[in-house]
Symmetry: C2
Subunit: 215 residues, 2 copies
Amino acid sequence: MNAYTTARIALPPQPTHPNRQVGFGSAPVQPLSFFAAGSEIYAQGEKAGAFYQIEFGAVRIYRLLADGRRQISAFHLAGETFGFEADTTHHFFAEAINATAVRTFRVAAGVDMSRQLLPLALKGLSRAQEHLLVLGCQNAIERVAAFLIDMADRQGGLRQVELPMSRMDIGDYLGLTIETVSRVFTKLKEKGVIRLVNLRCVEIVRQDALRDMSE
Amino acid sequence: MNAYTTARIALPPQPTHPNRQVGFGSAPVQPLSFFAAGSEIYAQGEKAGAFYQIEFGAVRIYRLLADGRRQISAFHLAGETFGFEADTTHHFFAEAINATAVRTFRVAAGVDMSRQLLPLALKGLSRAQEHLLVLGCQNAIERVAAFLIDMADRQGGLRQVELPMSRMDIGDYLGLTIETVSRVFTKLKEKGVIRLVNLRCVEIVRQDALRDMSE
DNA sequence: CGTATCATTGAAACGTGTCAAGAATAGTGG
DNA sequence: CCACTATTCTTGACACGTTTCAATGATACG
C-alpha cells in the first residue's frame, strides 16, 4: 500500500461510487462515474478501450519505475479528455486527485473513432512535447514557473490559480523533490511574483515576471 | 549561424537536393527529397500540412529556447514517420542528421487522413511519454542506458548499434551535457557493458546489464 | 482538541554542469 | 596519399544546483 491510494470521501453532488464500472456498457447516455480523492480510474496493464472526459475534479496520469519512482506525465482538469492509448492496453495509471466525476466514452469494437480521437491525440502529443522541453532544459525555478503559467492558462488566465494536487504531485510532474518545489514557491513569494493564498491556491502577482522566468 | 546548420554533401544514391520543395505538390507519385547532413527539413513556425517517411538516413526533431538551449524531442530512423502537428503550424524544427532521403505525403485540403494519422500520432505520444519518464526520473547512467536500449531495439536488437547522431545531439535529447554523456560512455565501457567500435557505433556486450541499468 | 499528514526550512552530500586542456577523428588541399 | 586544420570527443578539477536527511511548523481530520 502506498500513499497514493488513500481514498477519502466527502463529496459535492452525488454519493461517490468507487466502482469504476459505473457508466460502462450503457452506450447511449454515458452517465457519470465518481471517484474519491486518490482512487484509481484505470491501471497500467488493464485493457483500454474507452476515453474519459472530466466533469469536475482533477486527474493525474503517471507511470512507476520498479523502485517506486513516479513520473506524472500529465494533469487533467475539468473539461479535458484522457485515456486513449496506442495499444489496447493502458501503459499508465490514472487517479483522481480530488473528488472527481468523469464521463466515460466506450469505443465499441469495429467503430472507427479516428476522426474524434486524432485531435485529442495530437493535443496530448503537443502537451507531452512541451513538457519534454521543460524537463530536458529547465532548472527548478523555470519548471515551477512554467507549471504555474500552464495551470493559470488552463484556468482562464485568472490571477488566482487553484492547485488541486499536492507538492509531491507537482514534484513528480516536474522531476523535482517536494523540498525543491517548496523552496521555489518560497523564493517566488519572497520576490513578490506570487502570493500563497493557501496551500492549494496561488495568486499570480506579477504574471510578466513569471512568464519571463518560465523561459 | 550555429553548429547545427552546417550542410556538407557527399552522398549515396542520387545527387542531393537542398531544395526541400522537391516532391511536393505532385500528389500521386511522392518522389523522394534529399537532405544533406545538418540541413533543415522544416522549421518552427512554418506551415505544416504534410508528413514524411524516412527512406534512409536519420532526423532530429527539436525546439529551441530563447537563450539557445535545445531540446531534441525525438530521433527518427529509416522507415519511421514524422511531421504531423496538432496545429497547421510546425512547432518544431526537423533536421537531417546525416544524408537523408524522405518521402513526403502532402495532406490535401478537405481530405480526412485521421485513419492513417491516428496510429502515428498515438505512437508518437507513446514515445514522448516514455521519454518523459526518462527525463523526469532517471539519472545520467539510466538515461544513456535507456537511450542505447531504445536505439538497439529500433535497429532490430542487434549487438552493434549505429548512432547516427553526435554526442551533443544525444546530450540535448537526454537533458545532459556532452561531457556527462561522454563520461557515461566511458563508465559503461570500463564496466564491460558496451564496447565503442567507433564514435558512431556501439557494441552492446551485456544487454541484460544495460537493461537493468535503464530502470 | 489531539493526531496524522503534508509542507517548510536548514545543513550537508551528491551528481551533474562548467571551464579548460588534450586526444582523436574527419575533412581539405597540396 | 599525406599533412594540416577544424571539429568533435574525452578527461580532469572545481563550482553549483538539487537531493537527501532531519527537524520544525502548518493544516486537515476524527
